[in-house]
């Protein structure tokens, strides 16, 4: 069984790792032209926030989701707090849903994250493209929203693997066998 100090230190290092991963994902998401196919580019911050919410509890996951959302708001130059609020709610719900109904496996996570990505992308399309009345809304949905969600699938698997590895590396050893 670990001492309380050792446990606290390992947990701090774990959250530092998550924070560094968040910075890396921010850079990968916003770097011009990187992993871009056509108009679509995969999302990185959303899968990361969801993966942390699944591996940690709903409270930590919700707060980390809000931080990731703030980072996304900043880098995208959007109204501050909007994506942060969306990610807070999504991470909380996903964490709760996985605890209650799903096994926290990679396949389940990819499916749930795909649904969450589609939801976020669809809301963005609805509020910032369809409702302002821009033309070609259906084409935009078919050729941008759906491909972006599909391109996010491999990112989900990769990010989930990284987060799971970090979580396992710094798992609290409470002595229960």
């Amino acid at each position: 069984m670990e001492s309380r100090r050792k446990r606290s230190r390992s947990q701090i290092i774990k959250w530092v790792c998550y924070t560094l991963l968040m910075l890396l994902c921010t850079v990968l998401q916003t770097t011009p032209g990187l992993f871009q196919l056509g108009d679509a580019k995969p999302l990185w911050l959303l899968p990361l926030a969801l993966a942390v919410a699944v591996e940690e509890d709903e409270f930590a996951g919700g707060i980390f989701g809000a931080v990731c959302g703030l980072m996304w708001d900043y880098t995208a130059g959007r109204t501050v707090g909007m994506l942060a609020f969306e990610l807070l709610v999504l991470c909380f719900l996903l964490s709760a849903v996985v605890q209650l109904y799903f096994k926290a496996s990679a396949a389940n996570f990819v499916l749930l994250a795909l649904g969450a990505s589609l939801l976020v992308l669809s809301l963005d399309w609805l509020f910032f493209y369809y409702m302002p009345g821009y033309s070609g809304a259906v084409e935009r949905y078919l050729w941008f929203v759906l491909p972006t969600a599909v391109f996010t699938i491999p990112v989900c698997a990769l990010v989930f693997g990284c987060v799971r590895r970090i979580h396992a590396e710094f798992k609290i050893d409470n002595g229960i066998v």
Binding site: R7, S8, Q11, I12, W15, L23, T26, V27, L28, Q29, T30, T31, P32, G33, L34, Q36, D39, A40, P42, L43, D57, E58, F59, A60, G62, I63, A66, G69, L70, M71, D73, Y74, T75, A76, G77, R78, T79, V80, G81, M82, A84, F85, L88, F92, A96, Q99, L100, L121, D124, F128, Y129, P132, Y134, S135, G136, E139, R140, F144, T148, I172
Partner: protein, 291 residues
């Protein structure tokens, strides 16, 4: 505070139904209310970011710069292989254009000499020394932005201000600064429907408004609206800014007319413009800070 941090780092195992009665849930609700509050504040003050984000921008900008440099090499290699057919066709077209331009150079030299003489006579300045520019690299793009807005690595500490004009290396209009952080700024491109600049077709002197249009943004084209229904503007005419309104300098190149189409109501025409520099792929720009 220490209790909250400890609880965050060492989560207790609670059944989810009990979670809604805990202080943790109340904190989450508090954060959600706070986020909605700052969102409402930002919206009400017509301001996209808040002070905490300005601090965040200082921390993130170096990472974005480094990644942009790395990706520049990677993506150009990627583009080479994915666009090889286009590059061959473009090369052939450019070779033909080059030959044509060489022929025009002879005329150009003569006209240039004449022009210099006229300028001397009229005492017109050949350049615009009052205009000051700042060099900037594109360090970020929002993957969800349908109008290809981007972030530049120059901010308020470099003298950048909201509404500054952004042009390409070749002097073509790219957009305007809409938001300034300490070390970076956000640019709204000419493809955005909210972008408005007074423009004129240089050959026919037809006035209009340069703006973006969702129909053409995906193809990297913008439009010159409010042209007369019987306009003489035609394909390949140059479009420049007029400087009307004082936001943009006069005579900034925008691009060439691709086609002229009637406006939906039929009362006026729209010239679809192919920008001289594609705002979707630009990696470096100049910000005009004074003119």
């Amino acid at each position: 505070m220490a209790l909250a941090v400890r609880a965050f780092l060492q989560p207790e195992e609670l059944p989810l139904k009990d979670f809604f009665d805990t202080w943790k849930f109340k904190i989450l609700i508090g954060i959600a209310v706070f986020l909605v509050g700052i969102m409402a504040y930002a919206g009400a003050n017509d301001r996209l970011t808040a002070a905490p984000q300005e601090l965040l921008s200082v921390a993130v900008a170096p990472f974005q710069k480094a990644a942009a440099m790395v990706s520049s090499g990677v993506s150009s290699l990627w583009e080479k292989y994915t666009n090889i057919d286009n590059i061959i066709a473009e090369n052939q077209q450019l070779t033909e254009e080059n030959a044509e331009l060489r022929r025009q150079m002879v005329d150009y030299d003569r006209i240039k000499a004449e022009n210099e003489a006229y300028k001397a006579l009229a005492n017109i300045q050949s350049s615009r020394p009052e205009m000051s520019c700042t060099s900037a690299f594109v360090i970020g793009r929002d993957p969800l932005d349908p109008f290809y807005g981007f972030t530049l690595d120059q901010g308020s500490v470099d003298g950048i201000e909201v509404n500054d004009t952004v042009v390409s290396d070749e002097g073509y209009l790219l957009g305007m600064v809409v938001e300034v952080e300490a070390t970076s700024c956000k640019v709204m491109t000419i493809l955005h429907p909210n972008f408005n600049a007074a423009g004129v077709v240089s050959r026919t002197r037809d006035n209009g408004i340069i703006t973006g249009n969702a129909d053409y943004a995906a193809d990297g084209a913008c439009v010159l609206t409010n042209l007369n229904r019987n306009t003489l503007t035609q394909k390949s005419d140059q479009v420049i800014t007029t400087g009307l309104g004082g936001v943009f300098p006069a005579d900034v190149l925008v691009g060439v007319v691709k086609e002229v189409v009637p406006e939906v109501s039929g009362k006026s025409s729209i010239a679809v413009i192919t920008p001289g520099t594609d705002p979707r792929t630009v990696r470096h720009a100049f910000i005009i800070t004074n003119f």
